[in-house]
Symmetry: none
């Protein structure tokens, strides 16, 4: 259990919690004394929630550590990512709906371009569009190996995920991506003797895949990375007594949610409004809603300060759809910072807003922004403490001790 | 390793980090609503760095715990002093340049004054000046014991350090200082049976030393404390991928630095300017610079509020010598508080300033002082997290997980 002392304290309740995560929300000023993306955004609804609620800043994993998306979300869900490490192959696979059961081994794949000597010319196969890679993935699905079953799923463009199911599979295998061009892909080498059998099977699979891809000009080769197995995480529902739903456009976040046992909700569209309407549709069926907004992060990685602020403004505009559902607890935060200035994830603490009309002890902050959050009542805390705080404000925890 | 997850994340970089420690920096107002020493000091350079950077306050070891110099510095270097305990004998010895290798046993010594019955009259031998104790230390160096080698070094005034080198030496030995007058020094008693041999050797050494000192009036006896061995700390360079240099006037801080594998830089002079010029001289050879200013602590222990503020002003005036080197990360902090009002180390959190032009998320503080630090963006954090934060802002850490 992420918090051993919590399950004994859980109270049955009809209260509902929404965790709204704007990916990479935290930012930086582009120039000294300038605003951050969040401070720059015109966001009257968020500011009103900030006035009524409590602010803080979270450290996603540990001070100074820049988290990937997987660890950052696990932390928000209460699973210390230093303790619960999950291989990227599993994250990617479950993210696209591939089942990774106990004992299965999953990996991430990239199509790449090989020259006539088998050396890598382009590690991403010219970033071929999904329309081009889709039929190639269909061909990979048809590969047959003795004694095991494999499944492949397209992720996006040049990326795919592969899962192998069978007896005695062991994921301790080195990446085949040499991380450079001018050399051939590496063989899948076992890190432990027990992984020899699995490595041999993947070697056979790669060999067949090469033949299947040989007639392509761009995607005529592939590399595999992040071999991993299901980490067997404690279930969210057992940990917190909450029946949880994930509303996300992007596969990765669906994947992390599935790993902790959340139901992933299907819906059409990809705007914040579409996501909030999806929440509304299943509102009666769940009591915890993880809603993931991707584009704050994407714009941050593009270095697009204005674009990131606009995404935040879009969320703000759509927010009434969520608020009219009258959640008992609404948390608005990020999984990590992705400052447009740095064009990448960063270690900077993440703005955090907790709104819960029945139980809030308000601070004197009136805007949702990084500088305001520093002065908020929640202070600087670990993202790992988000779930206990949410449960408390949802009045779902009884007294510890007498 | 101090942080198990860090070594995997280290990126090669040419960025440079300066950790400027003003010993005992934290202070207290002398009267209600008055300024602290740091707030009282006129320090325009530090204030400018505070405006551009981020402030916080650190807890050196644990809340409420007043640290000694050794633990406080270990915490800043990322070695939790609750986990990594280092005997004072080792600290004192390495601090004066005595080598303490694996298996050696070191102790701190005090000269004392004994009456004709061998009872202690003065535990510090009238605080004899170093000029008087120096020839006595020379005599102690000549003591010869069977099967082991001993070395002695003057520390200051009535204090010295002794190291014993040989086979099967065990440091679990009780202090011989009874901590009171009117009684004779105690024998070095073993705490464990395995330390009997070592205790016997020290007993012989003390016996010979008594004879050597017998003709003195003041320093005619001695006591030994803090028997200890090399703690075998993980090396700073292995832990953080930084090639570290220590610039310090006082032996103790050189000693702690050596214990984690820092190079100790020799230089002439003892002013902040001398120290900063020493940094400049070796700037190209290292990428981490621990610069130690002692006199803030000394003035604090003297109860000299104005004197401590003047030391801070002296550091501020010399600071341009450091800034013109253009460090990527400059941290200005203390190892603990030494409020002139209390005339001793204290547990109060320590002002912390982090300046890093490329990566800072500024707060709205414009002065470097205790009250401002409370409102800084870094909040109240553990000194133990200093190194990961420094590495992050030096952009020397890659993403954790995908």
């Amino acid at each position: 259990m992420p918090f051993d002392y919590l399950p004994h304290l859980l109270i049955k309740s009809k209260s509902k919690i929404v965790l709204l995560v704007m990916d990479g929300l935290g930012g930086l000023p582009m120039e000294a004394n300038g605003p951050t993306e969040l401070e720059h955004a015109h966001s009257p609804n968020l500011d009103r929630l900030a006035s009524q609620g409590m602010l803080g800043v979270t450290t996603p994993v540990r001070p100074g550590i820049t988290p990937g998306s997987g660890p950052a979300h696990l932390a928000l869900f209460g699973y210390d990512p230093i303790k619960y490490e999950i291989g990227r192959g599993v994250l990617e696979s479950v993210g696209v709906g591939l089942h990774v059961g106990p004992g299965d081994v999953a990996a991430r794949g990239n199509f790449c371009t090989l020259d006539r000597n088998g050396k890598i010319v382009d590690r991403r196969a010219g970033r071929i569009p999904s329309e081009e890679s889709d039929p190639l993935v269909e061909r990979l699905k048809k590969i047959v190996l003795p004694g095991v079953v494999t499944d492949v799923r397209q992720v996006k463009e040049y990326r795919f995920a592969v899962v192998m199911r069978g007896e005695n599979l062991v994921p301790e295998i080195e990446d085949t991506d040499p991380q450079e061009t001018g050399v051939p892909p590496l063989d899948p080498e076992p890190r432990t003797p027990s992984a020899q059998h699995t490595a041999d099977l993947f070697k056979q699979w790669i060999s067949q895949a090469q033949q299947v891809l040989a007639d392509n000009t761009k995607a005529n080769g592939l590399t595999l990375r992040g071999f991993a197995s299901d980490p067997n995480l404690p279930r969210f529902e057992d940990s917190y007594g909450l029946h949880p739903a994930c509303i996300s456009v992007y596969p990765m976040y669906k994947g992390v949610s599935r790993l902790v046992g959340m139901d992933v909700i299907d819906f059409d569209g990809e705007t914040p409004e579409d996501e909030f309407k999806a929440v509304a549709r299943v509102w009666e069926d769940y009591d915890f809603f993880f809603v993931h907004i991707k584009k704050t992060d994407s714009k941050g990685e593009d270095g697009d300060f204005e674009g990131k602020a606009k995404v935040i403004e879009g969320v703000d505009t759509a927010l009434p759809h969520l608020l009219e559902l009258k959640p008992d607890v609404l948390i608005v935060t990020g999984d990590h910072s992705t400052p447009a200035r740095l064009r990448t994830h960063s270690w900077h603490p993440v703005p955090f807003l907790l709104w819960a009309p029945a139980t809030i002890r308000p601070d004197d902050q009136t805007r949702f922004g990084e500088r305001a959050c520093v002065h908020g009542a929640l202070g600087n805390f670990s993202a790992h403490d988000t779930m206990p705080l949410a449960l408390a404000h949802a009045q779902r925890l009884e007294k510890f001790g007498a």
